[in-house]
Each structure stands twice: as C-alpha cells, then as structure tokens.
Amino acid sequence: MRRGTHTRLYSQAGAGILRARVNPHVAAWARRTRPRRPAGRGLRARRHLAAEHDGPLRCGPVPGLLDKRLVFVTGKGGVGKSTVAAVLGMLAARRGLRTVVAELSGQERIQRLFEHGGEHFHEVEVAPDLFTISVDPDHAMDEYLRVKVGAVGHMLGSSRLFHAFTMATPGMRELLSLGKVWELSQPQRRTEGATPYDLVICDAPATGHGVGLLKTPRTFAEIARVGPIAHQGRQIANTIANRKFTGVVAVATPEEMPVNETLSLHESLAEDGLALDLVVLNALYPMRFDDREVDQLATALRRARSPLSRSALGAALSEHARAQTQREQQGRLRAALDGRLVALPFLFADHLGPEQVEDLADALEPQL
C-alpha cells in the first residue's frame, strides 16, 4: 500500500478526510500514466522571461506560483520550510515541470525527507522530475571561478588568502549561494552539460536571514559598483525583483511567533518592492469538535469514573484548545494577507517521509 494507515489527513475545516476526496490509487495511477514531458519543454514557452530581467518588472498580472522560474521558501526556524519546499517541488513535478529544490542550509534535509542520502553539492533526482541540491558557498565559488575567471580563477580558488577574503567579506557567502541558485534557474546554464530546469525552489534560511538573503545582491551591486561581482549582484537583484520570474513563499505554523514573523516579513518585503506570493500555514490541527460537543465533553469528563475515559476526554479537550488557539492565529494571517493564505494539515505521523510529502501535495494541490 502506498499510504500507511497511520497517517491521517484532515481538511482545513476539519470536517472531511481529504483522502476521501482524492482516491490515492487513482491519483497515483494518473501520475504514472500521464505522459512525461521531455525535460526542459516548459522552457521554450518561458524563455522570453529570461530576456526581460534586465530591469525589474513589478507591474502586470502575476502568474501562478508554479509558473514562475524561481521560488524562495522562507519562514522562522522549525516551521517546516524544507517540507513545504519539497511539497511545492512535488506539485510542480507532477505537472511535468523539471524541478529542483535547492537547500542553502547545508543540511541535505530534502534528501533525507526522500530517504536519499550522502550526495553533497550535486543535483540528485529524488522523485520523477524532482531534483534536489544542497548549495555550499565554497563549492559555488570554486565553480564560479572556474567558469568566470578561467586560469586565474583556478589559482584564486586554491589560494587561502582569497578564500579568507571571500568567506569573511560580509554577505559574500550569501551572494555566492544565491549565485548558484540563480545559475540553476537560467535557461542557459553556465555549468557545462547541465540540463536546464523549469522551476527552481530555494529552501532559504530562517526569516531574519531570509530577507537579508534577498537583499544581498542589491547591496553587493551597490558596494562593488563595478566589476564582475557588481554585475552579478545586479543581475541577481533584477531577477529577484522580477515578479514574473521570482516568487516568495512564507511558511508559518499557527503559533504566535511564526505568525508575527510572517507579518513582519510581509511588511519588510513591501518596503523593497517585493511581495509574498503565498503564505503556507503549516501543521494546522484539525477542529474535531464544535462548541456544543466541547460542552458535552467537559460534562462527560466531570462524570467519568474510569481513568482511561478521563484521560481520553482530557486529551480531547486539550487538543481542542490547541486547535482553537491555532484558528485565532490563522485569523490573524487571513486578515492581513487578502487571499494568499493556504493551509497544510498537521500530520499525525512518527516522522515525515516520501509518503507524507505526497499526502501534503494532495492537500495543497486544490488550494493552488
């Protein structure tokens, strides 16, 4: 069986089990039998975008999230950024887009999520059309130097002094990592023999650093002003500012702090002419009981004699209290975000693996 019986999915309202709506076997079958697009086919249609990012484009209709070329997923630590990045990647891959999820934290979480392991700094296919890479600034720099500066690059790359310079220069690590992400998103990749991607999803560092990350290229362009770094900085900054090309997704759990951080990210991006394309409220508890039922449960708890019943009724009430608090946080986000909020259910599972990513992708699909 593809899905373990231990994983249960609840819709946002908590009323229906999503699985009832989408027959997993049918869905899996549809995926298997759907003709796979040849790699990079989506590119031709979208190649015109690449020609446009000489200047920021902030007007005009914003295409759907998965129609973009580069999507940053950010949020406070521990809210499930990697999971959401993988789920978005899975959805894109299901639509036939050749997709890569690039991690910047150097932790290979996506690989582990798909029960792969051991590949550093190389692109690995973890599911059909879904790839992942863990980006490392040192590695990205060596690659950049090899391509850009040729023989001198080789020498610089191996020079300790130069390493010290780049690794210590404020923001340089971020710029180098972003440079690699940018490279992945280009229709003409500078890495020799590399196949282009239709979509790059970047699993960005925690929010505070995440916003900094998106601003880094612009700052660099300003500091360096001339030369290849300034050029690269400007190029990346323009790519990020181009909303047809680049999207930003924030992930939050329905708790006070992550919601605060999402709201402040929302404001801080607006100051830079950027915007959140989507907020994913992750791990939302199901609402299993209505108010009348909660009263009944409380009454039953007062009367119950058996310790096990008391235990179960107590757990029902306390889990309900949590679900209730979470709805308040969801309300805060909804009020501020006019329609760009989607939710993923909390998964009652021992840990998340490929099965759970599929389940979450099923849950997200109708919301996008």
């Binding site: 809210v79 010290a164 030369g227």
Partner: protein
Amino acid sequence: MLDGKRICVCAGSGGVGKTTTSAAIALGMAAKGAKVAVVTIDPAKRLANALGLEELHNDPRRVEPERLAAGGLKVDGELWAMMLDPKRTFDELIERAAPTPERAEEIKANRVYSELSTAVSGSQEFTAVAKLYDLDQEHEFDLLVLDTPPSRNALDFLDAPQRLNSFLEGRALQALMRPTGVGMRVLGRGASPLLAGLRRLTGVDLVTDLATFFGLLGDMTADFTARAQQVERLLRAPTTAFLLVSSAEREPIDEAIWFHRTLARTGLPFAGVVVNRVHHDLLLGSEPADVGTALRRTALSPDLAARVADNFRDYHLLARRDDHNVARLEKALGRHPLLMVPQLDDDVHDLEGLLKMHRYLFATDAERERLIAQLVA
C-alpha cells in the same frame, strides 16, 4: 543544574521554545533568590510585554516584582530582562574601541561597516556574545541567561561570531588592504596576478571600501583579537553552562545529539537538555483500542465517542514518537540531565505560560510526577 553557574547559554534549533525556556529559567533562578538577567533576541510581543520589555533599551531592565506576584510567584531574588539590539551593540563596541570619537563616527559611516553590523548573518550572534561578555564584566548579576538568536542550526551560534572575528582580525587581509601596507602598493601597480584577480573579480570599489575600512580600524583590530580570546575563555569557563533546548520531534532531537557531541568534542561546558512539547503517555498501561470500550460507559453519542477515540489514538502516535526520540537522546547524553516539559494546552507566549513552564522546569522529581499525573486526570 545551574548552581554555581554565572552564565547559561540556551541553544537550540528554531521553533523549539528557546526564548520562553530562557525566560522560565531566569525566572526560576530569580525565584530562588539570585539576581538574574535574561538577554533575549526577539521575544514574542506578549512575552515581551509580560516582562515589561515594550522598548529596546539594550540594557537589562528590572521586571517589576508585582507583575510576577500577580502571576502567583514569589520571587526572592531579582529578574532583569533585555532585548538585544545588534546594531547598537556593535556601535557601542566601536565607540569604545575607537581612539577618538571622530574615528568612531567615520567607521560607523563606512559602507562595509554598515553591512557588517546589520545585514550580515552572524552579526546577531557576534553581538549577543559581545553583550554577554560586557554584562559579565560588570559583575552586576549572579546569573546571565542568554537566549541565542533564531537559527535553523544550533551550531550557528558557535560558528558565526568566529567568522566575523576572523574577518575583523584577519591579519593577512589587513596587511593586504591597509593603504599603507605592502598589499595596497602591490595593488596599485597590479603586479601580483593574485591581487589582479581579486580586483578583477570583486571590482575596485569593493577592494577600496575594504581598504578604507581596515585603514579606519587600524590598531583597533588588536582590541578585537584580545576581546575574542576573552570571550572564548568566558564561554569555556566552568562557571558557564550550555543548555540545549529541543522539542521531541526527530529532527531537533537529531540536532540535539549532534550538538551535544560537538560541545563535548570542543570542550565547551554542557549542562543538559530541556525537551519541550513532550506528549506524555496517557494510556495508563492500556491499549488505545480500549478507549472505545471505556467511552461507551459515558453519555457521549457513538459518533462523538468515536472522534474522541480518534483524537486519543492520534495523540498517542505522537506520544510514542516522543518517547522513542527522548529515549534516543537520553542514551546519547549519558550522565547529563534531561528535563521534559509537556505539550501545554496553548501556545506559551505570555506570563501565564512562562509560569507554567517554570513549574515543570524547577519541580522536584516527586512534584513533576504529580504534575504529569494531573495531565492524565
């Protein structure tokens, strides 16, 4: 765990309740009679309000005892709290180290500096440690509790200040960059292919800006080097305790195990782990399936009873997961203590939540057992 300690560094990956745990520990030690300051980075608004931290001061302020008394806790000592302002801390550092106020102003106006002190990841960690050191030097407090900056990886806290330090004190780099140094002369002529490459790659302005920056820093870098060594000594002192905060999920537990190993390897003083949001076993030795039978004796409709049973089964899936993960952590920790705080009913971000967490953290074994028994009933 913290008796005889002067510094407690609370580390952990994001989203595990680090800030609240730091505050609860500070509160508990203050209740026991110590004068404690908690240094937090970005507390939740309600928690900040609860502690009276409406504004950034960059210096500890006393939490009025009345606030705590209103929550039902008698505090024999004093609780102080502050919210770290990284930019201001960095500026203060420069102002103190600069030979003249004019030099300090010049540095603060430098573009490389303004990047360094704000945008760069690592500046929060760097300034947090700097502030900790200053507070320790002032000898105002019996105990300082540091809530480390939010990050995905607990180890960032140890690496990041190091990176910034190596930038500030990178001697080779300074020699290269200082306008009077050999490097600049070489740069001017473009003689060395290495420097030519550097210049070609980074653009002249960046090199010039860096040169100006290091020129301005001048001999101050010696101060930074000395300071870095003192900070390092402070973090390694036997009166310092690293406390790891985790949740019971697989990833944070993996990270906790890794963090513990790294601390042991690098010889930093490790005190123990606090595991938050633990789902305790409420089954009392029964099977989840028995719940349905037990609930039949209540007045609930079969449908409602079934949902209560579903909820219980799901809850126990998490309880089993937590039990397994905590056991793994326990095994890795050896003799080091592990304190568990249960999953509390709501999001702990106010004084009430803080007091609740404090009760678990500072309970005796017998009290903790009683508290957990109350969860069951």
